[in-house]
């Protein structure tokens, strides 16, 4: 028989305001097995913990129930407390009297009754607790960073500067991401490329960073400190070790004006062999096998022709002829790389909403209606128009430019209900750029309300209005159509309370931020979750903003939710710090509250192997008897196997069937 001690916490008035703590404590002494019961104001305080330690020692308590706040809050605190008193830290059960009782129950009597029931259940459960000892795992001190935008770059540099090895995987031919596509940044108006390029170069030259561009993560196995990752290095058909980046091949590709360049948002062409932009890192071209004429034409070796006839030759091949170094290798194949990492950082960024869904704005078919990203490329001196702001329909300077905010964002009917956070600011910036480059042009900004929360942001919007004379109109535009060579906008001015019809030469839509189209697939590969929109879910939005629910995996930047560059860089730094904390351990203690399978009870049905979401269970054989075995380092303690196991061989330590049945029994009996 165990000797249980019960400690009821007031939590100030948080619990005591609704629960008669003295009554619960007095009644608890009558529960079979309980040898001691008391109540106190703040159990988690130093004084409160001392009371617990002293009581354990004086009353020879060997198991402890604490009626307090959620175990998420203080379970670890109290485990350490009872360990100081000489008990195994797992001989503890928390009855959640705050979140489960006092905060959610209106009536004082029923709150007290429910509190006592929960204490009874905890006593029943803890009576059958067994001492547990954590296991140990080593830590592979190398980090994988997925995504080479500003988030990944910042995280990789910070981790590498701590002295740890980093592998960065980027699926595009160059790192740089969205920030590389931007012209100027708000609210300082400094040039995006100027502040980003040095960091891109730092990544490429850092002795601790290995850069794998044109590569994707294909598979992730293992657990914190010991992830096994398979990376697909797509064939570039250009040998990186030979290529000097002279780009002679790129300038000679016959398709160089034929394929829309993704980097230019499709508004300028590239060839089949290309570097996406001038400052690309690495400055090594890749061959796009979907378009390359050589790679698309059939291999002569596989074609059979009648005797005397000539075999058809491969088409083109100009780049290979032009490359004096012989860096072009048409036989190159995708390469699968297996690497071991201790931590994984997700920095995969975001996409932009496609305004094709907006029939009222021309469904993407009016040439002079462009997106904010189109404008970024247009106004950039290395973009399709070399920085000139012109109407795409006729190449003329616009005299009147309208911006429409919240396209896709905050639109439950057609887009997404959330605010994309960056559009108010980038619209203000673009309005300023129009007025700077075309001082004669009129600028109108249609908005719902201005969300400029950030250092210097509100001032920036006011500058756009006051110094640069952008006209802000509160109201939605309901329709845009072309008429006699210009655009007609129908809108409502909700401050004047009047409908409004306006002509404009060019319209720029502030399309909202959405998750990457492959973010859910990536989350599945890594074994983590996304929210309803496809953004990576964090463990806690406030207190664990960069941790994801798989230990050793972290996320930063716009992969988590729409955010601007300052917030992205801040979370990237936070991730690096978290990785540093993890890597400061040579050995990690693994949570002992994991599943194990009793081989004597196991009937080898394999149900647990199938249901385990972490692939932690395998079938083993010993002296002819088959049974399931749990890899305790991989087990996350979810208990799915235990629920699926019919004979009851799979048990979750600290949550055994026996303990759960006893806690139910305790509520019903005593």
């Amino acid at each position: 028989m165990s000797s249980v001690g019960v400690f009821i916490c007031h939590c100030g008035t948080n619990i005591a305001g609704k629960v008669d703590v003295a009554k619960v404590s007095d009644d608890a002494i009558n529960i079979p097995g309980v040898v001691y019961s008391s109540h106190q104001k703040y159990s988690c305080s130093e004084a409160g913990q001392k009371v617990i330690i002293d009581a354990i020692k004086e009353n020879r308590i060997d198991k402890v129930v604490i009626g307090s706040c959620s175990p998420k809050m203080h379970e670890n605190t109290f485990r350490k407390t009872i360990e100081q008193a000489g008990l195994n830290p797992y001989m503890l059960e928390i009855a959640n009297l705050r979140e489960h009782v006092s905060w959610v129950t209106a009536d004082k009597d029923s709150a007290t009754r429910k509190a006592f029931d929960l204490v009874k259940a905890a006593v029943g459960k803890v009576s059958f607790a067994k001492p547990l000892t954590p296991g140990q795992v080593t830590v592979e001190k190398r980090a994988l960073v997925i995504g080479g935008g500003i988030a990944g770059i910042q995280a990789a540099l910070d981790i590498a500067n701590m002295g740890y090895e980093v592998v960065m995987v980027e699926k595009e031919p160059s790192i740089g991401g969205r920030m590389a596509q931007l012209d100027k940044t708000f609210p300082t108006l400094d040039c995006s490329a100027c502040i980003l390029s040095p960091r891109m170069v730092d990544v490429a030259q850092h002795p601790n960073i290995r850069l794998l561009t044109y590569s994707e993560v294909e598979n992730v196995n293992g657990y914190v400190g010991n992830f096994n990752v398979t990376i697909r290095k797509k064939a570039k058909f250009v040998d990186e070790s030979i290529c000097t980046g002279c780009l002679e091949c790129v300038t000679k590709c016959p398709l160089k004006k034929k394929i829309p360049n993704e980097f230019e948002n499709g508004k300028a062409p590239r060839g089949a062999i290309y570097v996406p932009f001038a400052q690309a890192v690495p400055k090594v071209p890749v061959i796009d096998k979907e378009h390359c004429q050589w790679l698309l034409s059939p291999d002569p070796d596989t074609i059979e022709v009648a005797e005397g006839e000539k075999k058809p030759k491969r088409k083109c091949g100009v780049c290979a002829k032009k490359c004096e170094l012989g860096a072009i290798d048409f036989d190159m194949q995708d390469e699968l790389i297996n690497e071991k990492f201790g931590a994984i950082v997700i920095a995969t960024g975001f996409n932009l909403f496609d305004h094709k869904k907006y029939g009222e704005y021309g469904a993407g078919e009016i040439p002079d209606v462009i997106t904010g990203l189109d404008f970024e490329r247009m106004v950039n001196s290395s973009g399709p128009t070399e920085g000139k702001i012109v109407r795409p329909s006729n190449g003329e300077k616009p005299k009147k430019v309208a911006f429409i905010q919240c396209v896709g964002s905050r639109d439950e009917a057609k887009g997404i209900p959330y605010c994309s956070r960056i559009c108010c600011m980038y619209t203000a910036k673009q309005a300023i750029l129009v007025r700077e480059k075309l001082p004669d042009a009129e600028v109108y900004v249609f908005y719902m309300d201005i969300r400029a929360g950030g250092k210097g942001y509100e001032e920036f919007v006011l500058r756009a209005q006051r110094e640069y004379g952008a006209n802000y109109v509160r109201g939605r535009v309901s329709r845009i159509y072309e008429q006699d060579g210009h655009l007609v906008l129908k809108a409502a001015d909700t401050i004047l309370g009047m409908p409004l019809e306006m002509e404009a030469d060019m319209v720029i839509l502030a399309t909202g931020s959405i998750a990457r189209e492959d973010s859910v697939a990536l989350a599945n590969t890594i074994g983590i979750t996304t929210d309803a929109y496809g953004f990576i879910s964090e463990v806690h939005p406030k207190l664990k903003p960069v941790e994801v629910p798989r230990e050793g995996v972290f996320a930063c930047g716009a992969a988590l939710s729409p955010r601007d560059i300052p917030d992205t860089v801040a979370t990237a730094g936070a991730v690096a710090a978290k990785v540093g904390v993890l890597f400061s351990n040579d050995i990690l203690m693994s949570d002992p509250m994991v599943a194990n399978v009793d081989p004597m009870v196991c009937v080898a049905c394999g149900a647990c192997v199938e249901v385990c979401p972490y692939s932690a269970i395998t079938m083993e054989e010993f002296r002819g008897k088959k049974f399931a075995k749990v890899n305790e380092a991989m087990c996350q303690g979810c208990g799915t196997c235990s629920a699926a196991c019919r004979p009851g061989a799979a048990q979750l330590r600290g949550q055994t069937d026996e303990q759960i049945l006893k806690s139910i029994e305790a509520v019903l009996q005593w």
Partner: protein, 294 residues
């Protein structure tokens, strides 16, 4: 043979007889049956829902119950379509109105009747490939501005058909008929018909904008799918030519008349205006000449 319950509505027996006969002819050519709802009554459009929503649902609901004996209900008039469809939605959620109907011997089972417009029915037939081989007299070279008006695709939650802001179904039907649909700006703008008695100038202004937009887009004809829009666009034209000076006059026809022409339906049923017919033939001829030259 697929058979729809057909709800002509009052306009198709009076001001829009050609819409009725041409619709029947088109579906006959497509091999789709239209069985008139027996003893159908007013759909309640334009007025009933402004007086009492329950009453509006009950008035239209009577027709739904009668149609349920036959099958899904097709309404050519956009206003009838929306009244019936709104009633179907209302009846699904409101058991009191259903009880009221039941007391009068009209039991309605939610979901038993689907309400669709003739545009949707024809578009469904197109998607099923039922136009194949039947377009024997294509409307070559004819530039058509498809005019959807307000009620055919809106409100989207009730209409549940096509894109509410940039519908394309009628354009695709016109393409299937061999015509060239034009891209234009005013395909879902209001024609202002409901306000003609209240604020004539406003209505005229709306009509003028629609007609000018169609002319600017280079359309030969405007295809309508609502007897009220049709009447409004046709009747105001001469007056407006006088008062405002339109860019040019443009004929307004029902989309079913054009489809029927392409499907080689009986001319008498189509009752297409002689001048429009001459235009159609002129365009066909031009297309053939281009072909011969080419």
């Amino acid at each position: 043979m697929q058979t729809y319950a057909y709800f002509p509505g009052c306009s198709l027996e009076t001001s829009a007889k050609e819409y009725d006969s041409s619709t029947r002819a088109v579906f006959d050519k497509l091999g789709i049956g239209l069985e008139e709802v027996p003893d159908w009554s007013c759909c309640g459009s334009s007025q009933a829902h402004k007086v009492d929503r329950d009453m509006a649902a009950a008035i239209a609901g009577r027709n739904l119950v009668l149609a349920s004996e036959i099958g899904d209900i097709v309404a050519p008039c956009a206003s009838c379509f929306m009244s019936l469809k709104e009633a179907a939605v209302e009846l699904e959620h409101d058991s009191e109105i259903r009880d009221m109907l039941k007391e009068n011997g009209l039991e309605y089972f939610p979901g038993s009747v689907r309400v669709i417009s003739t545009v949707e029915a024809a578009h469904n037939a197109l998607e099923k490939g039922e136009f194949e081989g039947k377009v024997t007299k294509p409307l070559k070279n004819l530039k058509v501005a498809s005019y959807y008006g307000c009620l055919l695709v809106r409100p989207p939650k009730i209409a549940q058909f096509d894109d509410a802001e940039n519908p394309m179904s009628m354009d695709r039907l016109m393409e299937a008929a061999g015509a060239t649909p034009v891209k234009w700006s005013h395909k879902t703008e209001c024609c202002g018909n409901a306000y003609i008695m209240v604020d004539k100038d406003m209505t005229l202004n709306l009509v003028r904008n629609i007609l000018n937009a169609a002319v600017s887009a280079g359309a030969d004809v405007v295809a309508a799918a609502c007897p009220l829009c049709h009447m409004n666009l046709v009747m105001r034209q001469p007056y407006m030519m006088q008062k405002y000076g339109l860019k040019s006059e443009i004929p307004i026809v029902y989309f079913s008349q054009l489809l029927g022409t392409a499907l080689n339906a009986d001319e008498q049923d189509l009752d297409i205006d002689g001048e429009v017919m001459r235009l159609i033939n002129k365009r066909r001829q031009e297309a053939n000449e281009v072909k011969e030259v080419g």
